[in-house]
Each structure stands twice: as structure tokens, then as C-alpha cells.
Symmetry: C2
Subunit: 309 residues, 2 copies
């Protein structure tokens, strides 16, 4: 089985939506990416850090899904990274109520020896200097590197971000961030500029409008599965990235055609994520549910028009 290494946050989230609110629940980019990728036949490991307040139950949850947690460092005297947010009625915009970095502040990820030649590396949202330090540890130039980031780093550490963007194969980014990073309104023009910054593949996430995959002049568009209600959008982007990365690691096939399928898997998994609070839906998710939603995804997008070139 091929290896997938995920570097990102393992955190507590507290979320308010129009449907209700949670206490501190499991959150963090690496948690969503890992749980999503665990639906594929891969050996995956999470590299992260938590505080002494982090429950063993959550670690067991990862282990039960065959995720290697030996590189989730626990700093007993520290507290786990905490984020809290409130979604507006449209479920597309939110206010951050609290961000407590805690143990994340001095996080220096160490990639385990056995994962330094992993097939796929996902760099979840973190300080770009930390992301670069992970790249320095990798040993096989053929590792597919997928980077996720957000506007915060564009605002505050743009040069560091550009340094890491230069070194990755795939970037996943949302539409507003793509526009901010490039100064281009058109997503086609934005992707073109991002290509010149480094990544051969650019995935632009558009929330309820789906995702676009760019590779030079090749473009693939996947809708989000239309849902009657979105319960909690937290983690949907990371769940997408986890499904995308998990599928690519499992299939070991880095072509545009296969990456299209990876986008479909990512979108499918993300459609489950938003149905319940936090990681709840991902935890209970069964393979036949994934399969039947993939069929819904096909029905949603596929049509028969015969054309001769």
C-alpha cells in the first residue's frame, strides 16, 4: 500500500450555525484530511501537535481508522489549538470568534523516517515556513506534494508563502484566495498566474459551487453535490483535500484524467462532511454510502452528446 503523510492541525473547534452550536469538538485540518483519506487503501500518518488536554478518545478514533498517530506529538503541559466560529445564515460566510494557537505556536513537525518517501504529502493549512520545513525533510523528489493555505498567510507572510508555493505540485485554494493571490478576477486567469508561481496543478474550491482543476490548458469542473441543507461547513475544504489525496495515493497515478477522478472523490466526501457537526458524519461513513453518492455524482454531471472530432 502506498503511503500518505498529512501535516496539519489537530484541534478543538467550537462551532455555531443557524442549526445549533457545539462545545469543543474534534477539529483541525489534519483531522479532516486524515479521516477523509482513511476511506482509501493507503497507509497514512498524521504529523501534528496537541496539548495535554487532548482526549485519548480522539486519538483512538484516528487509530481505529488505521491512521498512524505516532507523529502526533503531545505536549502535556500545553493546550490544544482552539478555533471557534459562527456561521451566518447563508452558511457561506462566518465570523471567527476565537483563535488560540497554544501548542501550535512552536510546532516543528518531524516527518517519521518511514514516511519521508511517501507517495503523497499533504501540507494542510499552517505557517508557510513550517510547511517549507516539512518539504526539507522529504527524500523522494517524486512525492506528490499538495498544499493547502488561506488568505491569512497572504495578508501576513506572503513571501514565505510564495517560497513554499514554488515547491509544490498541487495547490488547493478557494476562489477568493485565488483572486487575492493573483489580483485576477477570472479564475482561469488566476490559475494561469498560479501555474507560473510553481504548481502544475491548481484546484480552486468554490464551496457550494464545486471545484475547478487546472493543469495548463486542461480544465475540469466538478459541482458540489446540491444539498437541501448544509448543517456545518467546517472542514469541507480539508475533507475535499483528504479525499483528493487519498485517491491519488491509492491509485498511484498522477495524470490529469486520474486527478479528475480525485476531484470527484474529494467533492463526494466533502458532501458528507457538511451534513453533521464537525467530523461526526465522516466518522460514521460507510463504503456503500460513498459508492451510492458517487453514483449520484455521476448522475448529476454526466450526459451523452456524441460528437465526432
Amino acid at each position: 500500500m502506498s503511503k500518505l503523510v498529512i501535516v496539519g492541525t489537530v484541534a478543538f473547534d467550537a462551532v455555531e450555525t443557524p442549526f445549533g452550536k457545539t462545545d469543543k469538538i474534534l477539529g483541525g485540518s489534519a483531522s479532516y484530511i486524515g479521516l477523509s483519506a482513511s476511506h482509501f487503501d493507503v497507509d497514512s500518518a498524521i504529523v501534528s501537535v496537541v496539548g495535554g488536554d487532548f482526549p485519548q478518545d480522539y486519538l483512538d478514533l484516528f487509530s481505529k481508522r488505521s491512521i498512524d498517530i505516532s507523529s502526533i506529538e503531545m505536549i502535556k503541559e500545553g493546550k490544544t489549538f482552539f478555533w471557534s466560529g459562527r456561521y451566518h445564515n447563508d452558511m457561506n460566510t462566518r465570523d471567527t470568534l476565537a483563535t488560540e494557537l497554544n501548542v501550535l505556536e512552536n510546532f516543528q513537525p518531524i516527518v517519521p523516517e518511514s514516511y519521508k518517501e511517501a507517495k503523497v504529502l499533504v501540507l494542510g493549512n499552517l505557517h508557510p515556513i513550517v510547511q517549507s520545513s516539512v518539504l526539507d525533510q522529504m527524500k523522494d523528489a517524486s512525492t506528490l506534494v499538495i498544499l493547502d493555505t488561506m488568505n491569512f498567510w497572504m495578508d501576513n507572510t506572503l513571501d514565505d508563502l510564495l517560497d513554499v508555493i514554488k515547491r509544490v505540485d498541487v495547490i488547493t485554494i478557494n476562489d477568493e484566495e485565488a483572486r487575492q493571490l493573483t489580483g485576477e478576477y477570472s479564475l482561469v486567469a488566476a490559475a494561469k498566474k498560479i501555474h507560473t508561481m510553481g504548481p502544475d496543478y491548481v484546484v480552486i474550491k468554490k464551496g457550494e459551487h464545486g471545484a475547478l482543476l487546472f493543469n495548463g490548458t486542461n480544465i475540469f469542473s466538478a459541482p458540489a453535490l446540491p444539498l437541501e441543507s448544509v448543517f456545518d461547513p467546517t472542514g469541507a475544504g480539508d475533507t475535499f483535500a483528504g479525499g483528493f489525496a487519498g485517491f491519488l495515493a491509492q491509485t498511484e497515478n498522477i495524470t490529469f484524467e486520474n486527478m479528475k477522478k480525485a476531484v470527484v472523490y474529494g467533492s463526494t466526501l466533502a458532501s458528507f462532511c457538511v451534513e453533521k457537526f464537525g467530523t461526526e458524519r465522516l466518522e460514521s461513513l460507510k463504503p456503500d454510502e460513498v459508492r451510492s453518492r458517487l453514483m449520484a455524482f455521476k448522475a448529476l454531471t454526466q450526459f451523452e452528446i456524441k460528437l465526432t472530432p
Copy 2:
């Protein structure tokens, strides 16, 4: 050849975009619908009204595309409907600078006898009472009726609008309008409510994010073709409706599967519309350009994931 009758406005538009501005050029819902539908093998007629100031050249343009213009009434002493607008930098929002109804104010469309049993009727954006009066003239219950409308009628003549919505097979509406009409944020929930108002088929247009087709629990999602630059979005929705209707009239097949293809044709034609000011690009459009863009559309959306039910 099957017949398609289009009732809507034939107008002058003056448009400002970040790329430039136009003098009075050909506009109006029926103009875009008709020019778009003229790319299919159908006998189509436009039912509309213009003033004495309307140039013969524009009428000739329709005739050259084999559109029957004998029901475009000309009121010599009147002036043609005029609309003027300015697009913001995002090209998704605009300010209306002028709306002069002129001859449209007393427009009483008369469907020609030979079109009263048309295969497809498109009711372009007009006062809902005028749209109803067209329905009263039709003679064959099997005519597929496609209604387009906008928020103005929801704000001002909601009851009349609901009366006409009750009588149509397909409604095309944009996302914000669907939300306004139903009070539902989720487009799935909105479409469900619109079904209960009458239409078996609901098409929700999402501009740069494409379109959704609903028929009960069946959903189809078509992206918009990602474009590097949108020059002038005016008429894109009507061009979509024209391609959609033209394809359905040509194929005479009212099934969900065929309606999916109609959405793809509509989206493809709309992608040309926005490349130049007004109807300019539609006028010069060649069949092989349409075919090659349909192939681009397939490449953009089609993927191969084999699943057994």
C-alpha cells in the same frame, strides 16, 4: 421541422463594461433567444413589438437566420424599448441606468395561427399578465412552455406571476430570484417549492457557476465554461434559454436525459454570447465553433469512474 415560438422583447441596449461602452445596439430577450435558437433546425418565430426607430438591418439579421419576423409588430409613431446598464468590475452585478418601456407599454402579443400548436413556446421576460395572454392563445396542450422571468415581477406583480408559473412546464430563473421567490436559501429546497407552484422542470441559472436542472428528485448540474475574460454578460441568460429551447424543439424529446443535453447546449451558446458586446458574437457564430466548444464542455465535465449498482 418543428416549430418554436418566442415571445419577448426586441430592444435597444446601451451597455458599459470595464472594457468599453456601446451606443444603442440590438438587445431584448427575444433577440437573444431567437439568435441562439437559430443554431438548431427549427422553424422559429419571434412575437414582439418595436418602434418606427428600429432599423431594418436588425430585422434583416433575424430573417437571414431564418427567424419568422412577421409577428414583430412595428408601431411607426412609437419608440423601441430601451435599456441601459453599467456592469461593475466583477461583471456579475450591474446598475440599470435607464429603462424606457416605450412601445412595450401597450404590447399585446398575437401568436400567429401557424404557431399556435408549436412544439415549444418560450415566454421571455415580460409582464406576467402579458405572458398569460400568450398562453391563452395556444391550442395544443402538448406544447412545451418555458418561462423566463425576473425579480422585478416578484417585487411588483407577484400574484400575476404565480398565475403564469402555475401554467408552465419549465421555468428558468437565476439563483437570487429562486431564493426570493421561495424564501429558501438552499437551491434544492427552492426548486422543490417551485415544483409545487407548477413547473415540472426548474432551471436555476447561476451565471459564472453554471446552471442546475431539477425535475423532482432528478438533478443535473452544468458548469459555465470557465472563461479568461467576460466581455459583456448581457443576454447570457436569454442565450441559454434560446439554446435550451432550440435543442428541445429540434429533438422533440421531452425527457430528463434529453433536457440535460439541452442545458449543455444552452450553456455552450451562452459562453459565446459573453465574448463580445451584445449579440455580435452570436451573429458571427459558426456551427463548427459550436461543435468544438461542445467538445470542450465534455472535456470539462466528463470523467470515468466505473461503479456497479
